[in-house]
Point group: D2
């Protein structure tokens, strides 16, 4: 059986695992106070072009989002996000469980638009009853989005500008950031992200590590007492070095982007194979998630050979589905999928 | 200056205040354990046609909503509500501050539709990743709605049916319930509300009392330990009898509906006065809130004589506004308003 | 039957009620934006000797404590309080429900000691694992305390000094502040409270109003967006003027202290009556709550004529009880109680 | 430099790491829905003697405690725990951040006593104002305790009995459970824990894994919708199999107890070495944490060769310290420590 359900189905990239094996029996202090963690923080800040900032390692994406957002907001404040965003739909209410409202804007292929954030803020400030409302106090975006789409550098710059205008910290969820950086279409570098966003995280779990996400900021004053908050959120790993060591591997010799590039190449093969055979896209994604609107019988047939996700409710004749590749997807896996597709 | 901003601008109806004056120097036990409270609970249950149920007195609407909703939900559950609902827009995040997400459906003139609640539930149960989502676990409606509109008995019955089908407690916010009951258009009696909703509150603040809301249920098992939760939410009045005494007055000789009827009659005079002069409605409301889309110069002119609320952002030529009447609005106030309108 | 259960058994002082009656049918804007509220804020700030500060009116004590404490703390911070304090024992977890820990110190007759606060802070800062702990970030005291006892000016000054040293906002719960100010033993004026505490509230509910507490601060920058937080906590009264009008009466011609003085005089008569007859004090309180350790048969006998609270678990032979007087306790009530006591 | 700071300084036991290496490139479904997870759950339930129950894998201890406790409690309820317990002191307010109060009892060498839990419950139910209080609704203990001490089977049985009497779920934090099971003094088997506690967790992080804790219950009905709550708390690992695989290794051939036994043997060598040289115990612990009250100059001397934790504030002449061993502590490490001690 072939598997294209998601990008967290394999373990870690071999070079990542190797670092854990090499260092396994060493003893280091806990909670990220060790030398490996210090060294990896430096590696990441350098890659981001940040002279004076900070990096924290957390374990998973939902926990990272809820911890960062909780840290950036006061009790009466909320976070602006797309209705399709992960924090609004698939985190089981983690943001609300810490007391904060997700203030949604309609997504455009998964993305927010600067002009609509601006409009929301202007409406808020012109509303005489605004003190009875949740104050929009930060912006959450993801790159790539839930739909695999990418912001352009222009779009991100515009959002960043609106955020500065209204003093809204801009937070970027980079769970799949590696797959954005490796895409041909992308024109946003890691340094652009670091420059335009106030806080962001570089995803490890989906991009080569066993687990782990690296929260980065050039403005550590935005996250006072963040260590205690990480602890309170249950997001502090005792053996903190484990996450750092994995990111050390990713940020040595640019492994992060290099291994993610494979996922893009394999995803494009899938995209082309479907398009060449006349199937239609559900969303046009330039990254490692590919969405098609397939005839139900094609879906049934393919399910005999491969696992992949249904994307939304089943239609009468056509149903949207998602195929995901990752750093480890092999040529052989793709060929097998395409050969099954050809046999229809 | 005339005032049509809202229905909480005056004190209490004289008969309500009288009860507070008469009993002022008596001593009773606190927190709603007194005889007046017991007696008023009985009065209200009788008016609702509930043989075996319970009533609790809270102080204000936002606090009532957040306490009831918190009581009805488990940590991972959320409340279905219209996007225009008070809990979603004008309670400063009170629901989220207790950890619960408001799951919004688009409103239809302020109302939810049974079929859309049903669709939301079917989508939830057919979603394979539903365990990663907030569980929709109750429904919030208000009657009248934020826009002054009313559910029909058929509409409320359909919503009630869907709620029962999916085991969703149905909660009705009756901040202005009196103005619904007194409307010509309304075909839902208090007993219908009590029969079709699992929990609801009868609003006092806007309908004749100084303050106070009466939470009613025919299923007290839905609200275990509700007293402690009221206390925790800061919604427990020490001198509990004060709220009960005011509701005693309202539920004696049907004062509640009788005094609210005045607001409807006066509101209709305003409505007709504007319509007769060719102004257009913004929303067609049969209750004590009237919404018009007025020329900006008309608004400027009227503001010299009367206060009323702008309803949404100012337009280039026309802007929506709201006029509200209450139990105390006098014929004279209405005549003065109309004479100013006539003078344009 | 005589009633000495508590100081919230009667309605409002007649002069307080009068203001509500006089203004009842007036129309004013809501939520404390009216002229009466502005005027009363000024009256209170003047009485407190605060040139530039702010006052907010909330409805009840538990809600005031949880709203103020929530406003003063960041997510990872807690409040230092006596183990016997109201917030730790009798608010149904209201503080924790907003995410904050109550960090307890053992009480000394209901009071905190400056030296023990200092020790707690020094221990915290010398603990290498302090980032894994809740940060002690404010101090809560009440005056009078749960046991009716009073801080001396020296004691309060010392606590204030320690708080400033460690940058801990000092918050004083004045639910019964009037009964402190009216006590012969008290040497802390309202102006001292305003000078030594960062935030405090002047209790209305137990000292002459129907309901209402006035939060006062000379440092409004400590409570940013407090209006929204009051709303979120469900503590914002729609008809805001009602609370202000009651406090206007209390702070006109020093009514607040004058009416509270009665409670002290009556309480001292009760104290002396018991002491003269050889009964022993449970706690020596100089305010309107009097605590005795009575033989169980005396308690049984007195219960035939008067209600009062058992204070803690019933003992074999002796049980502690509490008698409370208020602004309205009459000479006759006291004489009747004493005559019953004399008849034993 | 020798390291005795804690038991989370090394990576994983080699057999544990081996399972991750062997399976690294396999693809499995996420969030614990894979075959490895199913198989390991079965292994653990068998080891616990539970015929029909459930197991969930979380990442770390603080997150496990806050998720389980949040699941077991309703909004107005709190958890009974020792004042010295981890949840009360070293989890940065994680329990309170989910809205629940920790109701503390004084510890006895780190332990709770059944009779004191019973007294607390009787006091609660005899308190007439109990509805104004947080309801004590579950009991938290750890085995071993924060001080390395152990409950006897009799003590645990008594606590379990009291819990059943008052319908309090009993939850055992087994962060170091392996070191209890391996201790000579311990008379509580894993099956006893499963029989006497309603929910407990078997700690991986400190007992041989890289990370991971296994929550076990014979009464899964106590944890409804626990999956969603794990997700909401940010405690759901995407690559769920990783935790399961590590526990599979631990629960194969009784590796868990066998490797923990080493820590006990090495800890006893340390204990004896100090005692033989006339040093005094601070607490008498039969597990892998050893506490001594050492002269300050001895501490200074030893710190040149070894790291270990100061346990509480520094004294004038003597200061308490803690030495911790683990599954990987070698004979050589111990010999070196003892030789340094001998050289004093």
């Amino acid at each position: 059986m072939l598997h294209f359900d998601s990008d967290y189905m394999r373990g870690a990239h071999p070079k990542v695992l190797e670092r854990l094996i090499e260092t396994n029996l060493e003893q280091t202090s806990g909670y990220g106070t060790d030398e490996y963690t210090l060294r990896t923080k430096k590696l990441i800040l350098d890659a981001c072009g940040i002279a004076s900032g900070n990096v924290w390692f957390l374990v998973g994406g939902t926990q990272t989002n809820s911890t960062v957002i909780d840290a950036l907001l006061r009790h009466h404040e909320g976070v602006i996000a797309a209705d399709s965003s992960h924090i609004n739909s698939h985190e089981a209410g983690a943001i609300e469980s810490t007391g904060h409202k997700v203030l949604t804007l309609q997504n455009h292929d998964g993305k927010l638009q600067a002009s609509e954030i601006e409009q929301l803020m202007e409406d808020f400030y012109s509303d005489e009853s605004r003190d009875h409302c949740v104050k929009p106090a930060m912006v959450y975006i993801s790159h790539p989005t839930e739909y695999g789409t990418l912001y352009s550098l222009t779009e991100l710059s515009e959002i960043s500008e609106v955020c500065h205008k209204f003093k809204l910290p801009l937070y970027l969820d980079g769970a799949r950031l590696g797959y954005a950086l490796a895409s041909d279409v992308n024109d946003i570098s890691l340094k652009d992200v670091a420059r335009l966003c106030d806080v962001f995280y570089i995803g490890g779990t989906k991009c080569g590590t066993l687990f782990g996400e690296a929260v980065v900021t050039s403005k550590p004053e935005l996250l006072p007492a963040f260590f205690s908050l990480i602890k309170q959120h249950g997001a502090l790993l005792s053996k903190g070095r484990l996450t750092a060591l994995q990111f050390e591997a990713l940020f040595t010799d640019n492994l992060y982007e290099r291994i993610c590039r494979n996922a893009i190449l394999q995803a494009m093969k899938i995209k082309n194979a479907f398009l060449e055979r006349g199937y239609e896209l559900f969303i046009d994604s330039p990254t490692n998630q590919q969405f098609f609107n397939l005839p139900n019988q094609t879906i049934e047939y393919l399910k005999r050979w491969a696992t992949f996700e249904q994307w939304g409710p089943k239609g009468r004749e056509y149903t949207p589905v998602r195929f995901v590749t990752d750093w480890g997807t092999s040529d052989e896996e793709i060929q097998q999928l395409i050969s099954k597709l050809s046999a229809i």
